[in-house]
């Protein structure tokens, strides 16, 4: 017996649905699409504009100083507003030394913490710790500087510094009078500021190491630590190095907290107890008061040097990080 089966109702969107056909006959909003695309392109191109604009403004502002001092600016150590002799060497020295101290302190701690968070910590402790580290990253620089002046520096002056002097006073690094505000204090406070960024980027790097590596090591009978050392850390070497360079980039540009504890004296001294001065600090302190055009030009030139250095360092970091992870996870760690 044949039953007449009525044709199935047509679903919306079926190829010959008249409603859809009618709609698809109408052209899409060509103007709207183009306009929106151009608008968003223009907005995206602002990053190019910003880089060019900054470089140009800094270059223009430093033209007087560049004309007068040329490349000597980078190797002269006098900073004498009276005699109008300016040289960036004390600030380059101060920035490099304070950043180096910061890295020496922060890198081992950060990477060890990242290892702890990804490999060794019990699962329940991981998220809370990560949240705490993100909170540390959120502390504004000026507040850390405030804490630095009133809590850290007096404590350093009374306890660790005299001990360091007793133990290592025979080396040039820990000789001389103890002021409290010093190159070492500057380095320590920068270390505190860069701990979160190195930790979180390292963590992302370590997380991106394929489990296969770990499993292979376990299969060979390695202990937890050995798995970490052999399979994870050596695989992640390049990325971890990138994290360190990213931390360095951040350290180089740190301004407020450093200005408040480093002593603000343009000098090149071996002793870490002596006060120092960084590129960013001298701009913060002296920019509004540079009375002569050449003084202002010299400060602009310092800004240009700082800009150039941080761009190069960040570029290197980005290259290293891209080889390890997709850029999204690394930048998520950075934000």
């Amino acid at each position: 017996m044949e039953i007449a089966i009525p044709p199935a109702p047509k679903a919306f969107g079926a190829p010959d649905d008249p409603r859809l056909v009618a709609r698809t006959m109408a052209p899409p909003s060509r103007f709207g699409d183009k306009a929106f695309q151009w608008l968003t392109l223009a907005m995206a191109l602002t990053v190019v504009v910003l880089v060019v604009l900054t470089g140009w403004q800094l270059w223009r502002g430093s033209s007087l100083a560049i004309q007068k001092f040329g490349l000597h600016f980078l190797v002269t150590s006098t900073w004498d507003p009276v005699a109008e002799q300016f040289g960036a060497l004390p600030f380059i020295y101060g920035t490099l030394v304070s950043s180096l101290i910061a890295l020496l302190i922060a890198v081992p701690l950060s990477i060890a913490t990242a290892v702890y968070l990804t490999e060794l910590a019990p699962l329940w402790i991981r998220q809370p710790l990560v949240s705490l580290i993100e909170m540390l990253a959120a502390i504004p620089s000026v507040i850390l500087g405030l804490w630095g002046i009133f809590v850290m520096v007096p404590w350093l002056r009374d306890y660790p510094f005299p001990s360091l002097k007793r133990l290592f006073g025979w080396t040039p690094f820990f000789s001389g009078p103890i002021y409290g505000t010093s190159m070492l204090a500057g380095g320590i406070i920068i270390a505190i500021m860069i701990l979160p960024i190195i930790t979180s980027v390292s963590r992302e790097i370590l997380r991106s190491v394929p489990d296969l590596q770990r499993e292979a090591a376990y299969a060979l009978g390695a202990t937890r630590w050995e798995v970490t050392r052999i399979a994870v850390l050596s695989y992640a070497r390049k990325g971890l190095f990138g994290a360190v360079i990213l931390g360095l980039g951040r350290a180089l540009g740190e301004t407020m907290a450093v200005t408040m504890v480093i002593g603000n004296t343009p000098q090149i001294a071996a002793s870490l107890f002596k006060p120092g001065y960084t590129l960013a600090s001298v701009i913060a302190n002296e920019f509004t008061e540079a009375t002569t055009d050449i003084y202002l030009g010299a400060l602009f030139e310092i800004g240009l040097v700082l800009f150039g250095v941080t761009i190069v360092v960040n570029l290197i970091a980005q290259v290293l990080l891209k080889t390890m992870t997709t850029s999204t996870s690394a930048t998520r760690a950075v934000q």
């Binding site: 859809l20 109408a26 909003s29 709207g32 306009a35 929106f36 608008l39 968003t40 907005m43 995206a44 191109l45 990053v47 190019v48 910003l50 604009l53 900054t54 403004q57 800094l58 223009r60 502002g61 081992p108 701690l109 950060s110 060890a112 290892v115 702890y116 060794l120 710790l129 580290i133 909170m135 540390l136 959120a138 502390i139 504004p140 620089s141 000026v142 507040i143 500087g145 701990l195 930790t199 202990t223 937890r224 630590w225 050995e226 970490t228 990213l246 540009g253 740190e254 301004t255 407020m256 701009i283 913060a284 920019f287 509004t288 700082l306 800009f307 960040n314 998520r332 950075v334 934000q335």
Partner: protein, 288 residues
Amino acid sequence: MTKDSGRTDNHHWRKIKNALASTGTFVSAVLVIAPLGLVFFYLLVNGASSVNWDFFTHLPKPVGEAGGGMANAIVGSLELLALAGAIGIPVGVLGGVYLAEYGSARINSVLRFLADVLNGVPSITWGVVVYGLVVLRFKGFSAYAGGLALGLIMIPLILRTTEEVILLVPNGYREAALALGVSRWKTIVHIVMKTASKGIITGILLALARIGGETAPLLFTAFGNRFWNHSLSQPIAALPLQIFTYAISPYDDWHRQAWAGALVLVTGVFCVNVLVRFLTRGRAVSVV
């Protein structure tokens, strides 16, 4: 046999190294968290007692006189955030949309690179640039200049977070909309961005929290103001700027207020961060 005993000795040593590593990394983690606890502790001890009604409603008093507050600095900071947002949010969000939706792989990776590099530039550089562009040209320090400097910092920040979040929106959504005949730009605005709105907003909030604590770019743009700001083309007070000025002064009363200001600022920043965490407790992209 010697071979076996050698192996068990080695095994013992390896176990010790393992234990050392576990403890060592745990101690490192504690050391990394320690400054957070110390800073918070001193903020509370030194600042809590000074955060009172006066602090939120009074203007600063002349040098050497006790009392006074930071009302103008708090309001000033909020005004600067609004100005910065007016510049940073539209540019950043739309730019991020471009990187996620359009463009070619080459151009996009260059733009992404540049944005990441800009994110690493020290904030004082922006102060210098805006001083030259705005303060000198218009012969005056102003809230506009301060807002612009902060807004420029926001642009690459929001651009990257927006791009990331939009990339997470499943392609199916786009395809469905396009299949229905919705134009491209409407698809992006009404479907994609709406879906990603939670993530975009959290990105904006994080950027605002970040620049809310910035001091360096304001030193020679917003300049600071002992009174209420009545015009955006005039100097304006800001909370981090006020904290800095008070912290390096010799007056105990100003120090007390600096701690209070710091406590208020940190609380504000942390609240935003907690809010963000709350909003993203599911996923950054909400499922409609």
